[in-house]
Every structure is written in structure tokens, then in C-alpha cells.
């Protein structure tokens, strides 16, 4: 086995010491987190705190006919048992509208505790409030519910035949085609055409969902581990019919999200409801079982990928269709063909997405929705085509690497997958691979190597930012973005430090609080670039304001200068042509008699915000018409398969990514690596088991849902081209999701190379290899 070099990537080009962006700085929240002092939602104590627990439905569909709460109410310390009989009324969720993305906030459309309808096995049907969590949970066990059971659709495999093709909208990817893929397929000299399946999966962020709700009249304060505090605030204001301005959501530290904490789920709504009903501050920390029963996860999928090619490997047809699942009361389909629109230069392409509707917990987005499971099918099929052609799988991919978007000829804002593969092949020693299956072994281990392409389309969202510069040279950045672990605050510290030419130590970033200017969701791999874009604008504005102050003084060396002639650095503004001529911000502000100066992007008014959102949306769509702005990567993987038992061990990994500029290699590498490891979990072990007879999840914990542990993994190397995207400020794109894409295919392709067995159904467990 090749010994991995000590460093996980070659030394990056050394940024100038004055520059913070590009340096592997320690996390700004690291000291608090390692000291055990970072406070997450469940850590918040407020006076007079009560605790809530959920009662879950045990049938998939029907009507509640009886609720016996007497035993629960009799438990000492129980304050209330809330059911649809006695719970305060709420306003139903708003219909989804592309004009107001916060209408996407609710994870389900259910009127929790305002209805006797049961829509999935696990839906909350009662909430117990008590003076301790143990008491609340104990009493919750004593609530007896009877149902009139109705027929339910709970078997995804059986429901596939009823799938309905999706019509494309602004929010949903539907059908796309160029040429006539079916006809091209029928005449192609070489064809692979297979069915692939992926199971339901769950986010399993380490922090279970938790909420603390405190009412003060119509004012509501909520502590909540959230990937979108603005969504949460807007949704809660609507549901409870109170003014938006009175609702505050705080989420300074979030213990992981992966998509599961972007929507507002039952636990949040019902904690707020419980607090409203009891007049107490209420905290509800979901058990892991509660999370799995009430927070949607990734849909199972069944996909067909068909590829037609000339004998030289030139693709002639690419067909990718897929079925994902939604719940009858909500859910998000997965656009499994997303990457198939952009990855290969086939003249005939047909992409179609369908959904089937089940009486189960609505699905939700999980890391790289669409691409995470779509790349499994596509990149497995490409490997199968390479085998059919007798061609190296890297070579096959390079042969079909498009110059422009294959669907509509748009330009890629940047794309250098060739370089990623070239560097990866060299570092990994790809050339040493012998092509035949079962041709490499080490004792009783069958050794296989596989590749697959990673692909993701990061989003861009509007962000409001304020930047305050004080006369002492310190800077305060405020924006309600989210720190779910990615290093968001650290990255923005670096961006601000460079933009203003101050040391990173001078910058403080506040986030995760709706009292701050509205930030973007931590989703779509867009948060860092979105906030940075607004932050750069704000810093420019700030420098202009500072310069205006300086120019008022006859003694300023900046007098008569334009901002374009200046450089920010050494804590102030200096002339580009005479770097020793300039002055510090402190000097300028002090002389002007100002303790501080603050700028804010976008208007604080509702109209201003709407205009800004519209502007941002227009820009986003304009960009989308002009560019395909994607991040890509090349995964190289080696597995070992025990020839006796079929056990699969990943023994080497290298991912080379083309993700634009990297703000902080320390945090970005972990984002990519964490994605790879989640992908390895999806490849080998992760599966949420929903009993098709009952619609009930039978493995709602970490004991039987196997996320990878340390011992499952080799050293995972991550490398990037680190070239800025020419179309974005700072050249940033997004790194949060691309890591997971392609991983399962790389593993399955390597397993095929090791064993000769092609597994088209995830996870690749050993019983599929015996």
C-alpha cells in the first residue's frame, strides 16, 4: 500500500503574508468549541424552563378517533398534554411561491395538533409539557391514541409504477432534452442500459434538533439549531399570527445540518406551541428517534441510465431518468439527472425526473440533493461503458469532456476537469492499475481501483451585511448567516480582513441571529460566496466613506485621491503608487471625530429588501442564462474486498477538486473530506429502513444506521486546483456538497474492478458480493 504523504495536499502557493484569504487559519470558534464552552440550543437555560416531548402516530394514514391522556396528565410534574383537542390554533403554512422562498420553510404542510388526520407513521399527535425532560418523555409513553386506519401507500418499490413526470419550474428540475436520445441509443454500436437504486438516507447531524421557545406577550424568542434562521422566523410569525419584527431566532452554533435543519419541522413548531399554551419557556430536545420520525431525510431513488457510444468511446446518447419519493404532505424530489445535463458531450440527451407520492414522512434535501445519488447512477454507467468498450475509464471521460454545455451550448464559468483528472491520475498512480477485474490482489484481499466524477452547482443567494469600523482599528461584521460547522465565520473574517487591509485579529463576525441583517441559508454550497459578495460590497462602500472623511481634511495624504488609486492595508488606506503615503483608519476617524463608521448593504426596509431580493434573483437567473457555474472533481479510490467474506474496506482515496478559489484550506479540506466520508457511508452502509408494510422506520438510531466510524477509513487525500472562478467576486464557488458527489460510484466501480461484481443497488454490503 502506498504510504500517503504527511500533508494532505501539496503546499499551496504561499499567499502574501498580508493576505488572509487562502491561508489555513484556525477557526475563530475553535477555542470555545474545544473548551466545551460553545453553547448550542440544548445548552440554553432560561428561567422557569419547562420541557416537552412528542407522542408519535403509530399508523401511516388515518384519523385519530380517541386520545386518552389521563394517565399522562396524572404523572407528577406534567404541566400539559397538548392534542388536537386542546392545542391553540395556528395559521396553516403558506402555499409555496417562487417569489418568496421562505414559503419553502415548512418541512411538511401538516397542521400539527390542529388536525385529527394522520399522514405518516411517526407524525406527532400529542405533546407533553413537564418540569423535566424525563417526566415529559415518561408521560408521553402513557398517552394512548386510537385510530381509524385508512389504506396507505408505504412501499416505494411498489409505488414506482405510479410515478409522475415532473414539470420543470423555477424551483424544480423537470424534463430536459436535446436531440433524440432514444433513437440514438437504438443505433449506437455500444450500449449500456441499466437500473440503479439508492435507499433512503438520513442526515444524522450529531446535534439532534432542539428548540427553546420563550414568549413575552406577542414577542417570541427562539433558540434553534437552524440552517435558515430567516425562514424559521418568517414561518413561525405566520403560524402563530404575530408580527415578524417580534420574532427572534438565535442560532449561533449549529451541531451539523447537511440540509436537515434548513426546513422548519414539527419539533420547532410544537415547542413554540407548547410555550404559547403553557405560558412557560419550553425546551424540546428531540431524541434521535424523534428526529428520524419527524425530520425528513433523503428519498430513495430508482434510476435508469442508458449510454450509447461509438466504438472509439465517443458518446452518442445519454439518457437518465429517475424516480424519487415525496410525502403526501410535502417533500422535495431529488433531481437525479442534474449532473447528467452538464458532464458529457453527448449530442442526444434526455433527462427526466418523476416522483411518486407515499404516505410517509416527507423527504427533505440532504447534502447535494440530486447529484449525490444521481452521480452514483451516471458514473457507474460510464464505468460500465468503459468496461464494455475495453477502454480506460479516465480516458473515456476525457474523450467526452465538453467545451460547452452539452444541452444548450452555454459556457462554463470555469471547468478544468481534465486538469483534475490529470493531477489525480499522477498522484494516485492510476497507470499502475491493471484493467481486468480481479487482476489485483494482496493476500486474501481483492484490490480494485475506481474513479468517478464529482459535480455540483452551487447556488447564490442574497445577503445583507453591516460592517462597522471603529477608530481603534477593529471591525465588526454582522450578518445572520449560519455556522453549521463549515467555518463560515472564519472565512468571512478572512474576507473582511483582506478587503479592509486589517489583521484577522481585528475582525469580529456576528452571525446566527435574526436581529442581524438577513443572511443566506446554509444550503446549496452558497453561503460563503453569497456572504462574501455582500461583504466585499460593504467593505468597498466603507472604504469610500472613510476616504470621503479623509478628503475633508487638508492635511490628509489621501486628499484628492480616488479609491481606485488606493490600496487597503496596514489598517488603513495607502496610495498604490506611493505605498508609504496614506493613513490608518484610526487616524482618519479620530481626526473626523468619529468613534466608528458603519455601512450596510441593501435597505433595511421591507421594500428595499424586496427590491434587493429581486435584484439578486434577476442576477442569478441572468447568470444562469449566461453560464453554467459548476464545481467539479475527480475521485480516485482503492478498495479491498475480502475474497472470503465480501467485506469491503476503502484503502486509499484521493479527490482532486476544481472549486474555484479556496478561502481557508483547513476548513475547506474538511468540508470536502467530510463529504467524501458521507459518500463512503452512502456507498457501503447507510440506509434508512422503512418497513414497507407499515411505513415505519425501523432503524431510527445510530445503532443500526451505520455512519462511517474512524476505523472504516483510510487517509483521505484532498487536493484542489485552487484557481479562482473568473465570474465571481474573489473567484469563490462553493465546497460544501461537491465532495459527496461521485463517491458511491467510485467505490462501486472499484468494487467491480476488485471482484468483477457490478453492484447497482446501494449500499454495497457484503451480501451483494458473496
Amino acid at each position: 500500500m502506498t504510504r500517503a504523504p504527511e500533508r494532505s495536499r501539496p503546499a499551496p502557493p504561499t499567499p502574501s503574508p498580508a493576505q488572509a484569504v487562502g491561508r489555513p487559519l484556525d477557526r475563530v470558534d475553535g477555542p470555545a468549541k474545544t473548551a466545551g464552552l460553545a453553547r448550542y440550543t440544548a445548552d440554553h437555560h432560561v428561567p422557569d424552563l419547562a420541557h416537552a416531548a412528542l407522542v408519535h402516530a403509530t399508523v401511516a394514514r388515518g384519523r385519530i378517533t380517541g386520545l386518552d391522556t389521563a394517565d399522562a396528565e396524572a404523572v407528577g410534574g406534567v404541566l400539559a398534554v397538548l392534542t388536537h383537542h386542546n392545542a391553540p390554533r395556528m395559521t396553516p403554512p403558506a402555499p409555496v411561491s417562487a417569489l418568496d422562498l421562505s414559503t419553502l420553510a415548512p418541512g411538511t404542510t401538516v397542521d400539527y395538533l390542529n388536525t385529527d388526520r394522520v399522514h405518516w407513521n411517526g407524525q406527532p399527535v400529542a405533546v407533553v409539557v413537564a418540569d423535566s425532560p424525563d417526566t415529559a418523555r415518561q408521560a408521553a409513553r402513557l398517552v394512548r391514541v386510537t385510530y381509524e386506519v385508512e389504506p396507505a401507500v408505504t412501499d416505494f418499490a411498489a409505488a414506482q409504477d405510479d410515478a409522475v413526470p415532473l414539470r420543470g419550474t423555477l424551483l424544480v428540475l423537470g424534463e430536459e432534452r436535446t436531440g433524440d436520445a432514444e433513437r440514438a441509443l437504438a443505433t449506437a454500436p455500444v450500449v449500456v442500459d441499466h437500473r440503479y437504486t439508492t435507499p433512503a438516507q438520513s442526515h444524522h447531524a450529531m446535534e439532534p434538533h432542539a428548540t427553546v421557545a420563550v414568549w413575552n406577550g406577542d414577542r417570541l424568542t427562539v433558540h434553534e439549531g437552524s440552517q435558515d434562521v430567516d425562514w424559521a422566523r418568517r414561518h413561525l410569525a405566520r403560524r402563530f399570527g404575530v408580527p415578524l419584527a417580534g420574532v427572534r431566532v438565535l442560532s449561533p452554533h449549529v451541531g451539523g445540518g447537511f440540509g436537515g435543519k434548513a426546513p422548519v419541522w414539527a419539533g420547532t413548531v410544537l415547542t413554540v406551541l407548547a410555550a404559547r399554551a403553557t405560558g412557560r419557556a419550553v425546551r424540546m430536545v428531540l431524541s434521535r428517534e424523534d428526529v428520524i420520525r419527524t425530520v425528513g431525510g433523503r428519498t430513495p431513488t430508482v434510476q435508469r441510465v442508458a449510454l450509447g457510444a461509438q466504438r472509439d468511446g465517443t458518446l452518442t446518447a445519454l439518457l437518465h431518468t429517475g424516480v424519487s419519493q415525496v410525502g403526501r404532505v410535502g417533500g422535495t424530489p431529488e433531481p437525479v439527472g442534474s449532473q447528467s445535463r452538464h458532464l458529457y458531450a453527448a449530442p442526444h440527451i434526455w433527462i427526466r425526473h418523476s416522483t411518486t407520492t407515499l404516505d410517509v414522512l416527507p423527504t427533505a434535501h440532504m447534502r447535494a440533493p440530486g447529484e449525490a445519488v444521481g452521480t452514483f447512477a451516471l458514473e457507474s454507467a460510464v464505468d460500465e461503458l468503459a468496461v464494455a468498450l475495453g477502454m480506460d475509464p479516465v480516458e473515456l471521460r476525457m474523450r467526452n469532456e465538453p467545451d460547452r454545455d452539452p444541452l444548450d451550448g452555454k459556457r462554463f464559468s470555469r471547468r478544468d476537469l481534465r486538469a483534475a483528472y490529470a493531477r489525480g491520475a499522477e498522484r494516485f498512480g492510476w497507470a499502475e492499475r491493471t484493467p481486468s477485474p480481479r487482476s489485483m490482489r494482496d493476500g486474501h484481499w481483492l484490490v480494485g481501483r475506481g474513479v468517478a466524477t464529482a459535480f455540483h452547482l452551487p447556488v447564490r443567494l442574497p445577503a445583507d451585511v453591516t460592517v462597522r469600523l471603529r477608530a481603534d482599528g477593529t471591525v465588526l461584521v454582522r450578518c445572520a448567516f449560519h455556522e453549521i460547522g463549515v467555518g463560515a465565520a472564519t472565512a468571512q473574517t478572512q474576507v473582511a480582513a483582506d478587503a479592509l487591509g486589517v489583521p484577522v485579529e481585528a475582525v469580529t463576525v456576528e452571525h446566527g441571529d435574526t436581529e442581524l441583517p438577513v443572511g443566506p441559508q446554509a444550503g446549496g454550497s452558497g453561503q460563503t460566496a453569497s456572504v462574501a459578495t455582500a461583504l466585499l460590497e460593504a467593505c468597498e462602500e466603507l472604504k469610500r466613506s472613510v476616504l470621503a472623511l479623509a478628503r475633508r481634511s487638508p492635511s490628509s495624504p489621501l486628499r484628492g485621491r480616488r479609491l481606485s488609486e488606493l490600496r487597503a492595508g496596514r489598517g488603513g488606506l495607502y496610495r498604490a503608487d506611493a505605498p508609504d503615503r496614506g493613513e490608518t483608519y484610526g487616524v482618519i476617524l479620530t481626526r473626523a471625530g468619529r468613534a466608528e463608521i458603519e455601512v450596510r448593504t441593501a435597505a433595511g426596509t421591507r421594500l428595499g429588501r424586496t427590491l434587493q431580493q429581486a435584484r439578486a434573483a434577476a442576477g442569478w437567473f441572468r447568470d444562469r442564462r449566461r453560464w453554467v457555474r459548476a464545481v467539479t472533481g475527480a475521485h480516485f479510490c482503492e478498495v479491498r474486498v475480502d475474497e472470503h467474506t465480501g467485506e469491503v474496506r476503502v484503502s486509499r482515496w484521493l479527490g482532486v477538486f476544481d472549486v474555484g478559489r479556496v478561502v481557508n484550506p483547513k476548513t475547506a479540506t474538511s468540508q470536502l473530506r467530510g463529504g467524501i466520508v458521507m459518500g463512503i457511508g452512502a456507498a457501503l452502509s447507510e440506509e434508512t429502513l422503512v418497513d414497507p408494510r407499515t411505513g415505519r422506520t425501523v432503524n431510527p438510531g445510530l445503532a443500526e444506521y451505520h455512519v462511517p466510524v474512524q476505523a472504516d477509513l483510510p487517509r483521505i487525500e484532498v487536493d484542489y486546483l485552487d484557481e479562482p472562478d473568473p465570474t465571481t467576486p474573489l473567484g469563490l464557488l462553493g465546497v460544501g456538497e461537491v465532495g459527496i458527489t461521485g463517491v458511491a460510484a467510485a467505490v462501486a466501480n472499484a468494487v467491480h474492478h476488485a471482484t468483477g461484481v457490478r453492484v447497482r443497488d446501494l449500499p454495497v454490503t457484503l451480501d451483494r458480493l458473496l
Binding site: 466545551g36 451539523g256 460547522g485 479540506t669 466520508v677 455512519v707 477509513l713 487517509r715
Partner: protein
């Protein structure tokens, strides 16, 4: 019951504890030490790892009654106030922290691993680290930098007096 035990070197007495409460609950809710995290409540993730009489355990599965008279150590007690322990420093510098929820438990488990290895006059091998920390799940980092942090901590602690 009145629970009396030593936590991070300080004697604690807490009244009206129900023996069936978990030690984790007592630490977090009654002693003001929420550093140890509740992530699965069934011993499957290691986020609540604390020392009990010098041995790492899952505090979520220890009944409060079983902590009577015993010594407990949590992440808050690894270093003095305002300081970071070498293991904590190593996690910070290596970038082994992301969302931070698994971190407190991992720090205790790592401290134990490094101490045990040091007592045997050696540093833990990679395979040993991966196996020893298999009970501490992390969903963010991909584990690699945790491994780096353990090595770094082991190097630094090797230089300390035993």
C-alpha cells in the same frame, strides 16, 4: 437522592436527584456543565464521553445513582479556566473541529488514549487511534484531522512529565 460526587476536582452535592436520571443530565442540567453533549442517548456516538473514576464512559448510560461518591471528569475540566489542554490545542490547530458537537467527547476519549499510550512509553499507532476512537462518531470532518490532532497531542504530551 442527594448526589455527592467529585466533578473536575470539585466536590458537588446536588439534592432531589432521581437515581434514574443519566449522569449526563445531572452534569448538563444540574451542575451547569453542558460541555458534554447529548446526541444519541444510547451509547452509540460518544458525544457524552466523560471520565468516571478515570475511565472514559458514555455519561448518557450511567444512572445518576451510580455516580454516587465517584470522580467525574468532563471536557470543561481538561484544562484550567481560560486555558486549553494540549489535546484541545491540537484539535484547534489541526482543524479537527467543525460543528463541534462531537468534539467534547472526542477530546476526553483522545486524552485517555494519549495518556494510556504515554504510560506505556509510546505513541498510538494510526490503526490504534482509528479503533480507539471508533466509538466517537463525527459527521463533519471525515475524521482525518482528528487523527492529525491525536498525533499532534501525543507528540506534545510525550514531552510532558508523566
Amino acid at each position: 437522592m442527594r448526589l455527592t460526587c467529585t466533578v473536575n476536582g470539585d466536590r458537588h452535592e446536588v439534592d432531589d436527584v432521581w437515581e434514574g436520571e443519566s449522569l449526563l443530565y445531572v452534569l448538563r442540567e444540574r451542575m451547569g456543565l453542558p460541555g458534554s453533549k447529548n446526541a444519541c442517548e444510547q451509547g452509540e456516538c460518544g458525544s457524552c464521553t466523560v471520565y468516571l473514576d478515570g475511565v472514559p464512559v458514555c455519561a448518557c448510560l450511567v444512572a445518576a445513582g451510580q455516580a454516587q461518591g465517584r470522580e467525574v471528569g468532563t471536557v470543561e475540566g481538561l484544562a484550567g479556566p481560560g486555558e486549553l489542554h494540549p489535546v484541545q490545542e491540537a484539535f484547534l490547530e489541526a482543524g479537527a473541529v467543525q460543528c463541534g458537537f462531537c468534539t467534547p467527547g472526542l477530546l476526553v476519549a483522545t486524552d485517555d488514549l494519549v495518556r494510556r499510550s504515554r504510560a506505556e512509553g509510546r505513541r498510538p499507532a494510526d490503526a490504534e487511534i482509528r479503533e480507539a476512537l471508533a466509538g466517537n462518531l463525527c459527521r463533519c470532518t471525515g475524521y482525518e484531522k482528528i487523527l492529525d490532532a491525536v498525533r499532534l497531542a501525543a507528540d506534545r504530551m510525550a514531552g510532558e512529565a508523566r
